[in-house]
Amino acid sequence: METLAIISGGIIGAAILMYVVLDGFDLGVGILFPFAPGEKARDTMINSVAPIWDGNETWLILGGGGLLVFFPAAYSIALPAFYIPVMAMLFALIFRGVTFEFRHQAHTSTHLWNRSFFWGSLIAAFMQGVLLGALVQGVEVKNLRYTGGMFDWLTPFSILTGIGVVMGYGLLGATWVIYKTEGEIQEWAHRAAIVMGSGMLVAMAAVSVMTPLLRPAIADRWFGGVNLLYLSPIPLLTFALAVTLFWSILSRRELLPFLSAIGLFILGLAGIAISLYPNIIPPSVTVWDAVAPRSSVIFAMVGVAVVLPMVLIYTVYAYSVFHGKASAEGGYAHHEHE
């Protein structure tokens, strides 16, 4: 059962990682939306994500659904504990999601849906960062039930992680736009990537300093005994990727900035996973406390093993259909009233 619990945790972690990277860049496109150079650039940007955003957001349902599947107890603790940020995130995602269709139909009210897209993306990203921080800082649990208040999640630390995720998604969005566009928009995206990348790295550094101060267990995980030696590749690789990111942006590479940004996210999440393991709800609930009964875990794992590879194959296919540079015409931005 212990192995099953760890594999289950790995599946949830992988789903969260997929979500953060994939929806991260399309939320980032929304965060940068009002700063884009003109309405035509906005059309191009939204076209570059319109055919794929729905699939990206599905990973969020898999994350939530997966938690209910593999760790029903953790699901039933986390969601009441994070009631307000979860609800705020959902409302934000609603506004952002309907923009894709409504903006396309809109004629005179395009600016209204631009705003809805920006605020929806920004608040969703911020709340996801808050959720991350609120989880890392710990949740008050007795007898596998949440016993804290409605506002326990709100701390300077969670606000910091919120800002960090907004910056990080902004970076993913900017580097995606670099990859998918050319000319004026691409130039603008280079500058946006520098700003967002700097902000994200500052936030990452601050979070890395603060996290071990939250609980002695986390400090011990990183600095106890020879752990620091084993774990040293994480900060070193982060540093190397940060250098690659800025170098690749400044030397006008098209795909490398996006890949470096993804790499930074993978390392950031890996760092958090190392800090929390074996807790799924820190500081007291471990993966084996919260794991679902064996019959449920095995059944779900068979499904994951059979279906997920197919999902990945056709997701790659769907992306490949829309490869190449995006343009302002076509897609959702195509106004048929002209």
């Binding site: 055919p51 039933s76 969601l79 609603i94 999601g97 019959s295 449920s296 829309f322 048929e336």
Partner: protein, 463 residues
Amino acid sequence: MPPLDAEILARLQFAFTVSFHILFPTLTIGLAGFLVFFEARYLRSNNEVWLVLYRFWVKIFALTFGMGVVSGLVLSYQFGTNWSEWSRITGPVLGPLIGFEVLTAFFLEAGFLGIMLFGWKKVGPRLHFLATCLVAIGTVISAFWILSANSWMQTPAGASFVDGQYVVDDWLAVIFNPSFPWRLMHMTTASYLTSSLVVSGISAFYLLAGSNRDVARQAFSIAMWAVLVLAPLQIFLGDQHGLNTLEHQPMKVAAMEGNWETRSHAPFHIFAMPDQKLQKNHLEISIPWASSLILKHSPSGVVPGLKEVPVEDQPPVGVVFWSFRVMVGLGFLFLALGLWGAYARWRGTLYDTRWLKRLAVVLTPAGFIATLSGWFVTEVGRQPYTVYRAMRTEDSFSPSVTGASVATTLIIFLIVYGGLFGAYLYYLLKLIRKGPDPLKTRETEETPEAIRGARPGLVVPAE
């Protein structure tokens, strides 16, 4: 604030968000089938009318699908925010069913919807048709899993209660629990019937207005065939589903019938004002023996009455009783529409019978009302339990969540969903007013440039 208030608010909130959500999948499940049909006919005949129809209805499909996605995402988290005890206890059973829905349906739909909407020029007609088919199959797979989960809460099977949570003994028994097959068929047919009414209503509107004649005739004809077949089928399936409910959830049927005493020769009440406090009906207008005849196929058949269980174990009778009558009444109205359409077709006046077209226009939204009523019957009829006769609704709620939080989010949901629904209707009516885009001749001679936009060559992001 006492915890009871929070629980009632959470029930209202869930009832509102889930009712809002179900409107959109109800249309997309059926409409996806129509789109497959239109595209298949186009590929076979190369008749541009089918392509025009596809291009028009896929816009309505995309608009509706988007609403379904955003309102559905809310639900997958609301289970946990408002119903954490339910999630903890039933999670091992229902979690995997919902997980399979995400894996086998949501990804399939999301992956191929992009190709369906924007990919015509990129992938060629055959692959595009495959994408349409996969999206349509995805909608049905989605219905399969979520209705299996819902049915398990109505008729739990295949799991036992161990150490404070359900543990599954037999997954096949869980998935194919006793009420699932009928519920799946009843709901899928409801979707197709609702979509047929939407297609026939909007086409009838064009026929009455004298615009878009060729495409409107074609769509009206098909939709009227569909209503003729689906309306009686749905009445049959509903009857079978009801008999299944009688076997497994007798108190729900007693509430549907407004029947208080267990008795033979029970009448069917056409009208009544059920009074749960006094445990009787006021102002009954009844057909003698009819309830026994419908449920037991014999006047001497004994049908169950609500008084078999204490008041606190009875579902709220009024809502169930009246929702059932709305659903059944509309079902027979749909049957009448189908028969009238068939008669008009036989007379050769399908496109010229003014009142038939007017009735079709009026019934455009009626499928949604019937579907919602049906859901009220089955969900309110399950009360006071979330898992029938095993877990009470009051024990399912999140204990730490305050009434103030639930009330605040409920108010925000009312405002946000109200506004969204207004925007959806506004853009839907805009699409309908504008009507299908006629194809230019030169466009049909080549490969069609795009399903979605009107201008060839500018529709898909260029390489």
